[in-house]
Chain length 306, copies 2
C-alpha cells in the first residue's frame, strides 16, 4: 500500500489507512449480518459463499460506494446495502472467473480459489448464490421518489449483466491468444472493470438522493477510475510476484492475454493510467471538500503496488 | 400430452391446449422483446442465452404465473414481466445443472445442452446472464403499494437463492449415491421445484394486487403442485424413454439419485402425487371459476407423460 505517495491537494493529510480500515470493518459487519449464516442448511453452499466473500478482499467497490454517498451528503447506513450488493457481485464474478472452464486459477488473494476448496459444482452454485443475494440485499436499501427500487435494481442488473460485466468476461475469454487492438482491449477493461466501479459510485449517489449533476460527475469519476484501475492491474501482473499480489502473477502473459503493457508498452500504460486518474480528479471538483475520501481512494488505486 | 384425461369439474370443457398455445406464444413474444437481441455485442453470450431460452421449454412457470394473475382478477400484461423473469431463472438453473461439474447432461428438451453447443465457459456465463436479466426484467413490472418492487425482487431472490432453488441443487448433488430418507428427498424436491413454482403463482397474484387470503391460497396451490410435479418427473424418468422425454431418461438411476419410486415404490409415488394435486385443487376453491386455467394446468401436470 503506497498510502504516503500523495500528490492531489484534496488528499493531503487525509488518513486513508484509518478511513479504509473503518470502512472495511463496517462493510464486513454488514455483510456478516446480511448474508445467510454459515450454518444455514445446506451449510456447504453458505460456507462456500462466505469463504470467498471473507477471503480478504480490499472492499474497494463498497468503499467507493460509501464515499460517493458521503460526497453527495448522504449517510453510510443508507448506502450500505448497495455497497454490500456490489461486493457480492464482485465476489461472484471472481469465483466464476477462476473456474477451470474460465481462467483456471488456483490462487486468489493468497488463498486457494473457491473451486479448489469446495469443488467445481459448489463453486458455480456459490457464485450463483452471491449473485442472487446481491439483488435481495439491494432491495433492502431505502428508495427515493427519484430513485425507486426498480431504478436501483435496474442499475445493478445492467452493470452485472450480459452487456457489461459478463460481456467483459466473454470478450476477455474470446481475446485469449489473439492480437487485440488497443480499442478492443479498452472495450474489455471498460466492461470487465469500469462498469461495476461506475455502478458502485452511482449507487452511492442514488442512496443519497443525488440530483442529475452530481450523478453525472460520479459516472465520469467511476468510469475513469475503473479504467485506470484495470490498467494498473495489467501493469502489476507483469511487474510483481505472486507473493506480492496474493494471486498468480504473470497469468495474463501465460494465458496469452492482451494487456496494456503488451500493446502500448509499460511507460505509455503508466501515462494513460495517470491521465485517467487526472480526469477522475477533475470530475470530483464538483463535490469540493466532500470528495476527499473519493479522491484519496482514487489516488490509492493509482499508486498501489498490489 | 394427456389433455383429454380430465376429472376435475372445474376443468371440464376447458381448452387447455388452445390456452397453453396462446400463453406460450405470448410469453415467447415478451421474452424476445425483453431479452437483449442475439446481435448484441458480444453476440456469443446473447446467442447462448437465447439458445436455451428458446429451446422449446413448455413455459409452465410463466403459464402458472399468468393464470394466477387471472385468478386474482389481474391482467396478463401486468404479470408478464414476472412470468418472463421466472422463466429466465428456470432456464439459467437448467443450464448450470446440465454442466459437466453438475449433472453432466448432453441433452435437454431434445437438443444438445448449452455447454455442448457453446462450451463450458460461455454456458456458465449464459446462466449468469439469464439470472441477472431476470431481476432487470422483474424490476420492469408494475408495483403496488402493497407489493412495491422491493417486495417483488425479494420474493424472486428468495426463491432463486441459496436457501431455496440453489439449496435444492446442492442437496441433490450431495445426495447422489447416498441412501436418502423420504423426508430428505422431499426436502430436495421442495427446494428444487416447489420453491420456484410457488414463487411463480405468488408473483402472479402480487402483480394483480391480491390481498393476503388469495396469496395464501396461491402459496398452498404452488407448493403442492410443485411437489407433485417433481414426483411425476421422478416417475417419468423411470417409465419413459429418452425419445419420449426429449432428455436423457433413466439418468436418476444412472447417477444413483434417490427418487420417489426408488424410496416409496411406484404405486405409492403415484398416490402421493394424486394426493398433492387434490390439495392443490382444494386451494383453488377460493377462486371459484376464475381458477379454471390454474386447475387445468395442475391436472395437466399430473397426467402428463413427458
Amino acid at each position: 500500500m503506497s498510502l504516503n505517495k500523495r500528490s492531489n491537494p484534496l488528499v493531503r493529510a487525509f488518513d486513508l489507512k484509518g478511513y479504509l480500515a473503518q470502512r472495511t470493518a463496517a462493510v464486513d459487519r454488514a455483510l456478516h449480518r446480511l448474508l445467510p449464516p454459515a450454518t444455514t442448511k445446506p451449510d456447504t453452499i453458505h460456507k462456500a459463499m462466505r469463504y470467498s466473500l471473507f477471503a480478504g478482499g480490499k472492499r474497494l467497490r463498497p468503499a467507493l460506494c460509501l464515499a460517493a454517498a458521503e460526497a453527495c451528503g448522504g449517510s453510510i447506513d443508507q448506502a450500505m446495502p448497495l455497497a454490500c450488493a456490489v461486493e457480492c457481485i464482485h465476489t461472484y464474478s471472481l469465483i466464476h472467473d477462476d473456474l477451470p472452464a474460465m481462467d483456471n486459477d488456483d490462487l486468489r488473494r493468497g488463498k486457494p480459489t473457491n473451486h479448489k476448496v469446495f469443488g467445481e459444482a459448489v463453486a458455480i452454485l456459490a457464485g450463483d448464490g452471491l449473485l442472487t443475494e446481491a439483488f435481495a440485499i439491494a432491495a433492502r436499501c431505502r428508495g427515493w421518489p427519484r430513485y425507486p427500487h426498480r431504478v436501483i435494481i435496474a442499475e445493478l442488473a445492467k452493470a452485472a449483466g450480459s452487456r457489461e460485466l459478463i460481456a467483459g468476461q466473454v470478450a476477455d475469454l474470446e481475446g485469449e491468444g489473439k492480437k487485440l487492438s488497443a480499442g478492443q482491449l479498452k472495450y474489455i477493461h471498460e466492461k470487465k472493470t469500469s462498469a461495476l466501479l461506475c455502478c458502485s459510485v452511482r449507487l452511492g449517489g442514488m442512496s443519497a438522493n443525488a440530483s442529475a449533476a452530481p450523478l453525472r460527475a460520479l459516472t465520469d469519476f467511476g468510469y475513469n477510475v475503473g479504467l485506470a484501475f484495470q490498467i494498473i492491474d495489467d501493469i502489476l501482473d507483469v511487474t510483481q510476484t505472486s507473493e506480492q499480489l496474493g494471486k498468480t502473477a504473470g497469468k495474463d502473459t501465460a494465458a496469452e492475454k492482451a494487456t496494456y503493457p503488451s500493446i502500448v508498452g509499460m511507460e505509455k500504460s503508466r501515462a494513460i493510467a495517470a491521465q485517467l486518474t487526472a480526469r477522475a480528479f477533475r470530475a470530483l471538483e464538483f463535490f469540493r471538500g466532500k470528495a476527499r475520501p473519493l479522491a484519496a481512494l482514487a489516488e490509492y488505486l493509482l499508486k498501489r503496488d498490489k
